[in-house]
Symmetry: C2
Subunit: 432 residues, 2 copies
């Protein structure tokens, strides 16, 4: 990993000719696939016309894996962490392997973790949710109580405010897992927070909700009542099963589109008040230091962002030929409207295909066919959401926000594809 090379190697390459989008799948594929996929070593005994070894005898039966795990050939697809980035694993973070994902669902076993006091393992029989403060009827609920109530299920992305946080000044981490892997997307099931607040009865001066976790950090954040009554949920289900321990089992708050530290895990208390609490996690942390020395406070919404997940540093190209550029886009303000992709560092853009369904505050998969001619290229994407907001370049973002914050970096990510097919994280230098 050569950081200098990545910092210095990002000069805009001379414009080159790239293949235009070709209409029609058959036309795109015709003639381009011959010999394209034979790079991996194969055992000829298993190739046609031979009968492969796994077809010659019965395989393992159904009782072998009551809770199934991935096949051994996918053992490299795991969450990873960066030892030098954080002092201890207990107060730390790991990253979703975006480079190996398909569609927009993140399997529960691969969702990034971010703990402030380690992972709590809570016996649900011993867990309670208290709702009190400026309410008519304070209540203490069990997990079973919550499951008796009407439920909702929604697909939402969940992104840490510090995702891409190392990349503010320059290209740092040569890996899409590490630059963008603090995001995941899952179907959450639980009780609408509005249902709970309707039940306890808000007093007229109820303006804020304090959410508190039962972990060793007792994570606390203030949430405006408008958001609490809009689309927040107290979730017990994730991707069809119970929340995982590292995601807040037995219950977590879901705050769609807002930074993930507000999705309080191991949720035990909701206090209703008339002003924010200014907790540690919304004053000394999770605020954004600006060039003039002031800090942005309560910057909740994760703005439109996208990243190309193929090609990327972990997934180089295997010689010239036909490929599909793929990536993910999301916006805390709602649906992704469009994603553009450039292979010349942003000089020319093509509109990518969005893979349906495109859901609000959910990851959206995009892709664009690309015939790579073997010359160097600068691959970059930009997302546009339904508000019309356009994901900025890093240059545009730095002009406004400076480089002192580690939070809310939603700048465009540029990957340099080298003639060898290798891919490197680079920062473009702009003339203007």
């Amino acid at each position: 990993m050569s950081r200098e090379k990545r910092e210095g190697g990002g000069l805009l390459l001379p414009r080159r000719q790239f293949v235009r989008t070709v209409a029609g799948s058959a036309a795109m594929l015709a003639g381009s696939l011959a010999g394209a996929g034979t790079a991996r070593a194969a055992n000829p005994d298993n190739l046609p016309p031979n009968e492969p070894e796994w077809a010659k005898a019965l395989g393992p039966g159904v009782d072998a894996t009551p809770y199934g795990m991935p096949v051994s050939y996918e053992a490299h697809v795991v969450r990873r962490w960066v030892p030098w980035l954080t002092a201890s694993s207990e107060s730390s973070v790991n990253f979703t392997p975006l480079q190996d994902l398909h569609g927009f669902v993140t399997p529960n076993g691969l969702c990034f973790e971010r703990h402030h006091g380690g992972r709590a393992e809570i016996d649900p029989a011993d867990h309670r949710l208290i709702i009190h403060g400026l309410v008519e009827r304070p209540i203490m609920l069990t997990v079973d109580d919550l499951k008796r109530m009407p439920s909702e299920s929604h697909f939402y992305f969940c992104e840490c405010a510090a995702n891409s946080g190392m990349e503010w000044r320059s290209a740092q981490l040569n890996s899409v897992q590490f630059t963008h892997g603090m995001v995941h997307c899952a179907q959450y099931t639980g009780v609408s927070l509005r249902t709970l607040l309707d039940y306890v009865g808000l007093k007229p001066n109820a303006k804020w909700v304090l959410a508190e976790g039962a972990d060793a950090a007792a994570m606390t954040r203030s949430i405006p009542i408008e958001k609490a009554l809009d689309d927040c949920m107290v979730a017990y289900g994730q991707n069809g099963e119970a929340l995982r321990a590292e995601q807040g089992y037995p219950i977590r708050l879901v705050v769609p589109g807002f930074e993930a530290n507000m999705w309080v895990k191991w949720l035990r208390r909701l206090e209703i008040g008339d002003q924010p609490w200014y907790t540690r996690e919304e004053t000394s942390k999770y605020t954004d230091l600006l060039p003039d020395g002031k800090a942005r406070l309560f910057t909740w919404v994760m703005e439109a962002k996208s990243v190309v997940t193929f090609p990327c540093p972990e997934k180089p190209l295997n010689g010239p030929g036909y490929y599909t550029i793929r990536g993910l886009a999301w916006s805390g303000y709602g649906r992704i409207k469009r994603v553009d992709v450039s292979v010349d560092g942003g000089r020319n853009w093509q509109t990518a295909k969005l893979v349906e369904p495109v859901l609000p505050k959910c990851l959206t998969r995009f892709e664009l066919p690309w015939r790579w001619n073997g010359e160097g290229a600068l691959v970059v994407s930009r997302a546009i959401d339904e508000t019309g907001y356009v994901q900025p370049t890093m240059y545009e973002l730095q002009k406004v926000r400076g480089v002192e914050s580690i939070y809310h970096n939603n700048g465009q990510q540029v990957w340099e594809v080298k003639p060898s097919g290798e891919v490197e994280n680079v920062r473009l230098k702009y003339a203007s």
Copy 2:
């Protein structure tokens, strides 16, 4: 488990009064939750106002589980099989634990398995997909080739033709996992089969596709060309990650809405022909014997079906009070339009809420609030799909199909709730 009791205990109970749907969440909940959820034994040292043990010290860090697993308190949520139902585990089946699922996604680790020759574990470098027969350009593709092509992602249910197959004659298995657990639902990612067939070029007399697996059973099924060109996919991704070995890694055919044995796993060959192949799996098996001795052939579509997953035999009621009846509905013909729920064995019906999004050929979650008065009840659901088809009673189904088949039982499932709160699989006797 008393089979006789379940067969004989299903007489229609006298009509009782049940609480009507109450509009508005607050009204539904008010006053009904007090003391409702305190049945499970709790350790008072962990309850408020005490600080629970897990809040007193740092929890495990993020490097403990690079591929995460469910928390120990959910260890009972597993696939299960019935040893007496099948002669050997290699040629066998296990069942999805529907009673513990939320939303409509089935986690990959819990998707039911059905193998005809055991689970093949295939090195993707050694796997090939051949497309030949009545085509202009026969081709052999690697898995990497497929990943270079444009992709699609869709949520589809996948149901074995024999799901509920033991229940044709009478109530047999006292478990929703065993009566209905041969269905799962996942986001599949892969290449549209139309894209591949466009590429190889169909000859004018191309009418059928033979799909063949690379497992020890060399599973083969004939698929009409209209379906192949409509919405079939060659999938490599399931719920965001690679297919699991037991689901056909590295590639399987996805045949939306059609019986699961046609979703050929470990797919290695697609042959295009002008007539069906009449393979073993579509003649001696997966045909439906009728009362007149004839057999229905090529009964591909899984018709509209639903089942209540709470309450159910595995999830009894814990005393009178407020509950939410929950279940799943699906149709191989498209979207679920409506689900009705009865608590008196089908005499009176209420329309359940469908949890959005309602997607075609995808599981749909429904729910209905219910205040249980502690008396016996007969809980049953019926699904109506967008074609207007109404899920039949078992009586209606048997009148047409008899009881000789084990396939395509989509009859209504009745659960008897006893005053004790226990729930039993019963068959209603009809006067007419």
